[in-house]
């Protein structure tokens, strides 16, 4: 049985603390940095970015639009301005390249809350499981896209969406939204592991679909080095995505984590003492092919 208290110790011993937390640090810098950019205006009077994650204008020039919010709007009859459309194209293109759920682990502020809940679960040894299916989020996504037709007065999900509410709350004023965030925290802590982000959140489900063919993926390039410590499964918020890539050697399946549930958070890369995982492309190269390429490259250099 895996000892939760020792989780990550091997990686720290092998690679040092920094390298064992590299992507965690980068993700927090990204999440907080984005918030800081939006807050520099109202707090310091330095207007780099205006708006919030639904739509923003950077340096009065670059529009970025949340395609999910605009889609809900379009279904209730929005005719967006050209800037909003340009913004959508840029955002979709970006997430198509780097992976849709990069939004979840590198941008979304709720991720910091649910990460804290998951960390506390591990520390406190809470092991509750829920019946909730991971496909619930797609049902939720469907629901949020039907509601604009069914209910007069439109973008219903945005009345309660904790993701946009938290970000907007920090930038414009929170109101009672913190209750919602506390609710998600407690739900993730007590009721279900990765309950919100991994099971319910329709925003993540939408970006999941956006990134279903994305180019940047985690690769289990050194999967033959895996010592079955299981730590990546424990730390991963979507552990079902790892197995096909990590344990597919006999079956000859690709070492690329292809499931778009993967959030490209890099936790598996951080925690692995054997450096099995690396960010890479989508191409289906087996480790053997990679090794051969490596030899060829070395040959050329010699």
């Amino acid at each position: 049985m895996l000892d939760m208290k020792r989780l990550g110790n091997d990686a720290i011993a092998e690679k040092g603390w920094f390298n064992a937390h590299k992507f965690l640090i980068l993700r927090r810098l990204s999440q907080l940095g984005i918030l800081a950019l939006f807050l520099a205006g109202p707090w310091l009077g330095i207007w780099i970015v205006k708006g919030n994650l639904a739509y923003s204008l950077t340096l009065d020039f670059l529009p970025l639009t949340d395609p999910y919010v605009l889609l809900q709007g379009s279904l209730s009859g929005v005719v967006p301005q050209t800037t909003a459309i340009i913004g959508v194209v840029i955002v979709l293109l970006f997430y198509f390249l780097v992976g849709g759920r990069v939004y979840c682990s590198w941008v979304c502020p709720v991720n910091m809350v649910t990460d804290l809940a998951a960390w506390l679960r591990r520390k406190l040894g809470i092991r509750t499981t829920s019946q909730l299916s991971r496909s619930t989020r797609f049902w939720m996504l469907g629901l949020t896209l039907i509601l604009p037709f069914a209910v007069a007065g439109g973008i219903v999900w945005e009345l309660v969406n904790p993701v946009s509410m938290m970000f907007r709350g920090i930038v414009f004023g929170m109101g009672a939204a913190w209750v919602m965030i506390l609710g998600i925290f407690l739900f993730d802590l007590v009721v279900a592991k990765d309950g919100w982000c991994g099971h319910i959140c329709p925003v993540g489900a939408f970006y999941n679909l956006v990134g279903s063919r994305s180019l940047l993926r985690v690769n289990a390039v050194q999967r033959q080095a895996c010592n079955d410590c299981m730590e990546c499964y424990v730390i991963c918020p979507e552990p079902q995505v790892i197995k096909p890539a990590l344990k597919g050697e006999e079956k000859g399946t690709s070492p690329v984590i292809l499931s778009s549930d993967c959030t490209n958070c890099g936790r598996c890369i951080d925690i692995c003492a054997k450096d099995v995982f690396k960010f890479g492309g989508r191409q289906n190269k087996t480790t053997e092919a990679l090794k051969r390429e490596g030899e060829i490259n070395r040959g050329v250099r010699v």
Binding site: W139, V151, L159, R168
Partner: protein, 285 residues
């Protein structure tokens, strides 16, 4: 049935069961959300939308809650609704009493809107209809007490068009005038400058969302005189003239003159002495 088939059967049943459960759960969430949105999407009276805002229902379907109008307002009067506020979460509003719209000529809030929730067709701020000012309290407005105030009239950016002064007789003193402010909906933009300027503790003139401030005539109503003017004549057969049963040479004038006796006084069927008329019955006996 082989073992494997039976296993598949159970899996299929489980799968369908799980799916049904999820669908029901999500369906319930949907019902809840629908009901909540109905409750949450009623705009309270003191929350006014920025200029160019589409009709409320359309606005809620169009506004993506980005807050760019809030950021581009040079007077910082706009706010986004927060969870727990009476206004739908994330949508922009202003409160006239504390911060009315200053009516910028270039309307930066509208220009900033990426989804046309604030209608980009609006180029002239004087054509905007954010709400409508209403003189709600005639008991406390000091103009009704015969005191000179006229502050709302004077701060109105459409002075003498959106608010005019109506001179009325002061029945209390018997010899002075009242200068009563009157709002005209064909000019009032609902900016709220009058509400902020009102000198009372609690404003007597307030801006309300238009649907709260205005009545509406039944669709079938036609105002006869207007229709007559449009048609250039009466639309129905004119009334037959009423005949009074009066002696010759006497007629009745409806518009105020009353009984008119034509011809010379001596030709009159009545005696010049009114007593004769009054006593006429007794004389016969």
């Amino acid at each position: 049935m082989s073992e494997r088939e039976r296993k598949n059967e159970i899996n299929r049943r489980q799968f369908l069961g799980n799916m049904l459960k999820t669908a029901c759960g999500v369906g319930l969430v949907g019902l809840g959300l629908g009901a909540y949105s109905k409750r949450a999407s009623s705009l309270p009276a003191s929350y006014i939308r920025p200029p160019g805002a589409l009709p409320e229902e359309e606005f809620l379907g169009t506004c993506i809650r980005c807050g760019l109008c809030v950021r581009d307002c040079p007077y910082d009067i706009l706010f986004l609704g927060e969870l727990g506020d009476q206004v739908p979460t994330g949508t922009p509003y202003f409160v006239a009493r504390s911060g009315p719209c200053e009516m910028c000529e270039d309307i930066p809030c509208v220009v900033a809107c990426p989804t046309n929730a604030l209608d980009h067709e609006l180029k002239d701020i004087e054509a905007s209809r954010m709400g409508l000012a209403v003189l709600v309290d005639q008991e406390n407005c000091i103009a009704f007490h015969g005191l000179r105030c006229e502050v709302c009239f004077n701060v109105c950016p459409l002075r003498n068009r959106a608010i005019s002064l109506d001179m009325q007789h002061n029945t209390r003193s018997g010899k002075h005038a009242l200068f009563i402010p009157v709002v005209h909906s064909d000019a009032c933009t609902g900016c709220g400058l009058c509400e902020r300027a009102c000198i009372l503790e609690e404003a007597a003139i307030k801006v309300f969302p238009t649907h709260l401030a205005k009545g509406e005539l039944g669709k079938h109503y036609r105002l006869g005189w207007e229709e007559k003017e449009k048609a250039g004549g009466a639309l129905v057969t004119p009334d037959t003239k009423h005949h009074y049963n009066l002696p010759d040479g006497v007629r009745y004038e409806l518009q105020g003159e009353g009984l008119i006796i034509e011809g010379e006084a001596e030709d009159s069927p009545f005696s010049s002495n009114p007593l004769d008329t009054l006593n006429s019955g007794f004389m016969d006996k």
